[in-house]
Symmetry: C2
Subunit: 336 residues, 2 copies
């Protein structure tokens, strides 16, 4: 018996590794000290920080992968994953340093892996982040043929006295939103079920949102790095909330002091047509929609009332919406 007979092809894995190495190297700056092929990725802590704090996050892209598989489009989920992770550390004020990925499948298809990694590398470049390592795992018996999973870890850095954590938020502060461009990476189990029940295939065109189901569902999760950097140059950011699973209702409370609350005004930013469609077609009540989806608001920014006047109308190409205010409260969010 050879290893290949048991369903694992080491040569094919090595071929995928070489393709990854080429794509990854294009994202490396001078801080990256190692070549892929060593056991671990080496990254020098930038000298410019007085008291550097590392901020890290690990995530997947959830069942958006099933949409990608059905549409045979694999580069966008790579971008989704990086941008999602960039946003997750951005909310604490961190700038990305490096990224590692994990791709697991029952059977590794080198072309699929290369496409995923091409997306990872593109988004890493766009966010000034080095794709420093990762793992591709072929696991017959654990993943059904065609199934795969994708996860990633980002590590970034922030000066200790510049960590953003929401602790300075007080009643009277204002809440702004940066727009999402679709579902981003959350709510796909529900969305897929709604489209399935409507009998719509991936390539079906839906007039409500003017594109195919696949195009709408695979829009790349936005990175808010450039927009937040632009805002931070103009106003003091007291808190940032990345609107992921749990929606505004569960993500904004994560940064609110327990004696405050937030009042968010429905209608103060554009809810994307895809959410209207899902609510209507799936008969999903409004409270549930706001608990599952970002509803068009991908990132919330809290600033003082004084700084509100300094907020730009647009930041790195995105419209900035004023969507609510901080009030006395118990740490929760009210939709009004």
């Amino acid at each position: 018996m050879r290893y290949r007979d048991s369903g694992v092809d080491i040569d094919k894995a090595n071929e995928a590794t070489r393709a990854i190495a080429r794509l990854a190297k294009a994202t490396w700056g001078s801080e990256v000290l190692s070549e892929i092929g060593h056991f671990g990725g080496l990254f020098a802590v930038p000298k410019s920080y007085r008291d550097p704090v590392l901020v890290s996050s690990m995530d997947g892209v959830g069942t958006k992968l099933l949409v990608a598989r059905a549409a045979r489009t694999f580069d966008t989920v790579g971008q989704d994953l990086v941008n999602h992770c960039v946003n997750d550390i951005l909310v604490q004020g961190a700038k990305p340093l490096f990224f590692l990925d994990y791709i697991a499948a029952g059977k590794l298809e080198p072309a699929m892996v290369a496409s995923v990694v091409a997306g990872l590398a593109q988004a890493c470049k766009e966010n000034g982040c080095a794709l420093i390592g990762g793992e591709t795992a072929e696991m017959p018996g654990l993943y059904q043929h065609g199934d795969f999973d994708l996860a990633g870890t980002i590590v970034g850095v922030v000066e200790r006295d510049q960590v953003i954590d929401g602790s300075a938020i007080v009643a009277g502060d204002l809440v702004f939103a940066l727009p999402s461009n679709g579902l981003h990476t959350n709510g796909y189990s529900l969305a897929r079920r709604v489209f399935e029940q409507a009998g719509l295939a991936m390539d079906a065109r839906v007039d409500d949102f003017g594109s195919t189901v696949a195009e709408e569902l695979l829009r790349v999760h936005r990175s808010y790095l450039a927009s937040v950097n632009e805002i931070a140059g103009k106003a003091r950011i007291k808190g940032l909330a990345h609107i992921t699973g749990g929606g505004i209702l569960e993500n904004l409370p994560r940064i609110l002091p327990k004696t405050t609350g937030a009042r968010i005004h429905k209608g103060s930013w554009p809810v994307l047509p895809v959410f209207d469609y899902i609510a209507r077609q799936g008969d999903v009540v409004e409270g549930e929609m706001y608990r599952v989806f970002n509803m068009g608001a991908g990132m919330l920014v809290v600033v003082s009332a004084q700084d509100a006047a300094k907020m730009p109308e647009r930041a790195a190409g995105l419209t900035v919406y004023r969507v609510g205010e901080i009030v006395e409260g118990d740490g929760s969010v009210t939709l009004v």
Copy 2:
């Protein structure tokens, strides 16, 4: 339609998150600045380093998960994952700082998740590493019921001028081995197939190795941190190779300068009975065995001939075996 109808239970996910938070906090030292529940984990770069280099690695535990599932034992794979990652950065001289985990399943069972995380937390504590964050993802449709995957990322640190990379290795140096205690985390697809073909259930006792199939296959991947630290206090380590997938034949070359080679003497360390059993029962040729399994040698250590006399006979409880020497060569390993 509510989100729960689509197979995702946010309350259950939150319950799992709370269990994880309790276990994880027990691993935190003063460098950890955040509470889980924020978006990213915060870890202060230790002040004691002049020129710190971060060394990171991401990995899974492969199809050892299928053995864990069959045996309904989930804490050991958590330990496997951490120890594997600790070894992967140890080979470049790095000391672990923090760890993040990713657990994905079709349906999250809080008891299973808590058991995996208990294993992660235990191994993190043993290796002085903070379990700083992670993601649990419930993905109906992507994972079959009962299936799950587990991956993790470790970040460690090493002083820049103390990175170990094998570049100082020359002909005449000697190779030592630290023993493994079983398959560690590699070769499970082949091993499972051999045991299946032999008609052996997980709880079947095998006299050849004196335990049940499950006990043998689920032995926890050894961390070599303590042993390598003890050796490093006595001799200058020129290179370390963690023997994972690809065995000695593919892992030792990763640190050899291209003008050197290694001659490894079979019989100079004990090959564990489980490997003899797999070779015989599965009719696996010797070359393939050495390409897939660690064969009893979990970590190789290269030191100069002068330093060989300083090598301890035992390091942190493990016997140190002299197993070969570095010769002139083309970067490859010869088994003699």
